[in-house]
Symmetry: C2
Subunit: 121 residues, 2 copies
């Protein structure tokens, strides 16, 4: 008699869809992962507020400020005031925030591939 293979239903993954909702709620917007990836990619000299604003094409000071505040509240970035003149503020990823890098990278790679599939077609 033929033993039925279990359907590959991955039941474990369904239980915690709330977790995916949480992630999407926090990170699903237009800017947050972009900011995280930017910070992860840049040398220290480019992590000032003004530099980020210039380098992240299209973002406004208002959005950058707002998003950074949320990221800070969620322990993803650290805000550090430097005693330069005029004062500058640098933003860096926390160790915890660095756990987002593989995810952002993966999404980026996927997007790169997707371009070829969809737009290159």
């Amino acid at each position: 008699m033929h033993i039925k293979r279990p359907e590959k239903t991955r039941p474990e993954c369904i239980q915690n869809l709330l977790a995916l909702r949480d992630s999407l709620e926090l990170l699903g917007g237009k800017w947050k992962l972009l900011i995280v990836l930017h910070i992860s990619c840049r040398p220290k000299e480019l992590l000032h507020f003004k530099k980020l604003e210039k380098e992240i094409t299209g973002i406004s000071a208002k959005m950058l400020s707002k998003e950074l505040k949320i990221l800070e509240e969620n322990k993803i970035v650290t805000r550090t005031v430097q005693n330069t003149r005029p004062v500058t503020v640098t933003y860096t990823l926390t160790t915890y925030g660095q756990t987002l890098i593989p995810i952002a990278d993966a999404l980026q790679q996927w997007g790169l591939h997707h371009r070829k599939i969809i737009k290159g077609k």
Copy 2:
């Protein structure tokens, strides 16, 4: 003499931020990754439109229909009309769509962890 270590700036990743924007534009909404994960987790019998609508808590027929259409246009899901009475329509992930599963899983895991860090605190 001490040899200076290169800053870990990962310059390669900055070039293609457009790709991340693309991914976020397509997948950054409230429902798409949730739908993908749902389809990936469910046995065939639960992949009908009506079943999906019931199982994905909070989604409306309108949103489900709209999102599935976009996913189909992007070659992520396949729409199959079954000749049952009344006709049912099943949605499955394409091979290409399956490349999103690791990403959705990773985001889900991250969200699970994040709950503990932020809300459990």
